[in-house]
């Protein structure tokens, strides 16, 4: 083969041709079983949900086809609109805070020190622990009179807070739990990014006498950007859908101050048994997540361009 490629220009032109013409057996057989399994599980629920969203179906009453009226009802439902607002606030905070802290933690855990493995294990325990179990313990810790958090605050002279028991502080308090739980995931992903960075830029930076912050800002950060983006995306999907924590701690209260879309969906479907309307919420909720992911992708594209622009 090599003799051929060297002998004539024509052959040289088709240097890679033999590989292209030789059609490898497809990899699809590897993928298909998993696709079938996943589709088998999700198709029926989706068809069912979409169909039901076009019906009025309250448990115990007959089903009536009503077309898009459930969707129209959403636009005038103050609780739903409020829930969308809560969800967005909750999501933004629960993406940004873990990203910041997780990056910081990754930088620290990227250093070498005694007991690193064990401490890293301890640090990722919150994301592995059973959410319902942790949520119950946090509820006890938040108690305004008997909770340990207010006691800790009192030790440093801060007056007691109401945490999840006041409309103004409930979302930040829940975000605190969410951050505590999911910062480790961001840390792990960013840690992977740090491990993949070549050492050369750091060496030259050291020669130039760059400060730690400068190194981080101009070398580390741009290089781990793709990882932060992935972490942010995963975090966004999970934060929007967050359920166990909010449900177990506040059930959406006080009042409806922490009622997110997922919590409202739960109420509509499982306490009001308004399954048609609940299905419509589920569909809109899904579309909203897709929309948020698209927005994030869009900003990612733009950021890439600006980075290249300023870099050049």
């Amino acid at each position: 083969m090599s003799a051929l490629t060297q002998s004539t220009p024509a052959a040289a032109h088709t240097k890679t041709a033999p590989e292209k013409q030789w059609r490898p057996p497809s990899y699809w057989p590897f993928v298909v079983p998993a696709l079938v399994v996943v589709l088998a599980i999700i198709i029926f629920p989706w068809v069912f949900t979409i169909w039901m969203s076009l019906n009025e179906w309250k448990v115990g009453s007959p089903t009536i086809f009503v077309g898009p009226s459930n969707y129209l009802r959403l636009t005038t439902d103050p609780r739903f609109i409020e829930a969308v607002g809560h969800t967005l606030v909750y999501t933004v905070l629960s993406v940004v805070l873990p990203l910041l802290l997780g990056t910081l933690a990754a930088v620290v855990f990227h250093q070498k020190f005694a007991g690193r493995g064990f401490l890293r294990g301890v640090f990722i325990m919150p994301m592995m622990a059973t959410p319902v179990a942790i949520a119950l313990v946090w509820t006890m810790m938040f108690h305004p009179q008997l909770g340990v958090l207010n006691y800790l605050l009192s030790l440093v002279g801060i007056p007691p807070q109401l945490w999840v028991f006041h409309p103004a502080t409930v979302i930040p308090s829940l975000v605190l739990v969410e951050t505590w739980q999911w910062t480790p995931l961001v840390m792990l992903i960013v840690l992977g990014g740090l491990a993949a960075i070549p050492t050369e830029p750091y060496e030259s930076a050291q020669i130039d006498g760059a400060s730690f912050w400068q190194v981080f800002r101009f070398i580390t950060l741009p290089l781990i950007m793709p990882f932060l983006f992935i972490a942010g995306m995963i975090r966004m999907i999970d934060a929007v859908k967050s359920f166990d924590i909010i449900f177990a701690i506040t059930q959406g209260g006080p009042g409806s101050a922490s009622e997110t879309i997922n919590i409202y969906l739960y109420s509509v479907a499982f306490t009001y048994y308004d399954l048609g309307y609940g299905s419509a919420i589920a569909v809109v909720f899904f579309l909203l997540i897709v929309l948020l992911a698209a927005v994030m992708l869009y900003f990612r594209q733009r950021m890439l361009w600006t980075e290249i622009g300023s870099g050049a």
């Binding site: 115990g60 009179q145 008997l146 109401l162 028991f165 409309p167």
Partner: protein, 441 residues
């Protein structure tokens, strides 16, 4: 049948003395054929709590009596309601007998036709012990158990009155008398509050949805009615506004911080720690309050009826019952079980342990049974007094959960300063279409 001995056995015979037949299976002139369905297997789904415990603890006696095997499980109330509804909707529930919460599920179950009609069983002497008669149930119980057509769709099991718990020690220290009216209660609470010490005059549910059960005590005592003759909801009227103002005053001025997020559990924690002087809640909390392992106020708790309002004195009443799934294939056997569940003996055990209050007057008013109550006498007295002023605590409609959520959220927002009238109006506007849609469907 008149040989009274003071023992568990007595209860059997003692209760039987009221009717002519006991559940011991000693048929005097009896026709009830307890063993007729021997060998049947029943599935029961229960809400977690003392009622469920009471059933499971003694179920062997039922099996001995009837030869019916019973498998039962207790699930926390909220999950139990969901599971029950989903299974009933599917048409093939996995259970024969269901424990239902009247104040939430009555209308829903009736409308969906999920429960089997017991009226004819109750008239059948081969199925029903003679002491089990409709008139023995309290009015509230019958109101809950019967549908519009007068059919008996379940047996009333346990009633929950709201009463006032108070801390005698704190009352004594401040020289405060037990309040008889709501106004007195506010005044007392103000005197008892000592924020420096971390002591508050009043505690109660502030959490959305749960808070409705407290608020209705005020609403009823201000003369409120939930529905007008045409079925329109009336919770934005002057009575509701007055009740909400009282609620707002109590929970913002003299209650512990964070009360807007309190359910019964947090309220109880505050009360058992001696940090709140008064607490209005369901009658069933006496056992934990008097349990030294869980409470610092053992022996110091006073029990009394909810203070009177300007338009009357009522005790907001809730309750649960036990019914037969319409889809069950073992209805008669299931009926025997329901009957046993609300029998005098089982009811007496429930009352005596403080785990609940039977709907049956013959149990509540039986001096023999009263003697065996392990809770303080005052508690029993508060139960008996509440029974006399009992009034249903929530509107009997299908979308009860929505009602509790929406109006409950309005109440909670008054706790952070919102105006009661505006909030109630807003809640009413939001709730009215939901109610209309559900009644029309």
């Amino acid at each position: 049948m008149a040989n009274h001995k003071i023992s568990r056995r007595t209860l059997f015979t003692g209760t039987a003395a009221a009717g002519a037949l006991s559940l011991t299976g000693l048929p005097a002139r009896a026709e009830v054929n307890w063993k007729k369905y021997a060998g049947t297997k029943l599935e029961v789904i229960l809400a977690k709590g003392p009622r469920g415990d009471n059933l499971q603890k003694y179920i062997k006696e039922f099996t001995d009596l009837t030869g019916i095997q019973v498998e039962s499980e207790q699930i926390p109330e909220q999950q139990q309601r969901q599971k029950v509804v989903i299974e009933l909707t599917s048409g093939r529930p996995s259970f024969d007998v269901v424990h239902l919460s009247y104040h939430v599920q009555k209308r829903q179950f009736e409308k969906a036709g999920w429960l089997s009609d017991m009226t004819s069983y109750m008239k059948d002497p081969t199925l029903t012990a003679p002491d089990l008669v409709e008139s023995d149930f309290s009015a509230a119980g019958l109101q809950y158990a019967k549908n519009d057509k007068g059919q008996m769709l379940s047996l009333p099991w346990s009633v929950d009155y709201f009463i006032l718990y108070y801390n005698k020690e704190l009352f004594q220290k401040k020289g405060v008398a037990v309040p008889k009216t709501l106004d007195e209660m506010v005044a007392a609470a103000e005197k008892l509050t000592d924020t420096k010490e971390g002591i508050y005059g009043f505690v109660g549910r502030g959490l959305r949805n749960a808070n409705m059960t407290l608020w209705t005590n005020f609403f009823l005592n201000y003369g409120g009615e939930f529905l007008d003759a045409k079925g329109n909801i009336l919770t934005d009227g002057p009575e509701a506004i007055e009740a909400t103002k009282l609620y707002q005053t109590l929970l913002t001025k003299v209650a512990p911080p964070g009360v807007a997020g309190f359910n019964w559990m947090e309220s109880m924690a505050s009360f058992t720690q001696g940090r709140s002087a008064m607490w209005i809640d369901g009658v069933g909390w006496a056992p934990p309050l008097e349990d030294p392992a869980a409470s610092r106020v053992v022996g110091k708790v006073g029990y009394t009826v909810v203070p009177a309002g300007p338009k009357g004195q009522y005790s907001a009443t809730y309750g649960d019952g036990i019914g037969i799934a319409a889809a069950s294939k073992n209805k008669e056997a299931a009926y025997l079980l329901c009957q046993w569940v609300v029998s005098k003996q089982q009811g007496a055990r429930l009352l005596q342990a403080g785990g609940g209050v039977p709907f049956r007057n013959s149990i509540l008013n039986d001096p023999e049974i009263q003697k065996g109550v392990k809770m303080p006498k005052e508690w029993l007295q508060s139960v008996i007094d509440s029974a006399k002023i009992s009034k249903l605590g929530l509107p009997v409609v299908i979308p009860v959960a929505e009602f509790r959520d929406i109006v409950g959220a309005a109440l909670t927002s008054t706790l952070s300063g919102a105006d009661p009238a505006t909030e109630l109006k807003k809640a009413n506007d939001q709730y009215r279409p939901i109610l209309e849609r559900s009644e029309k469907a």
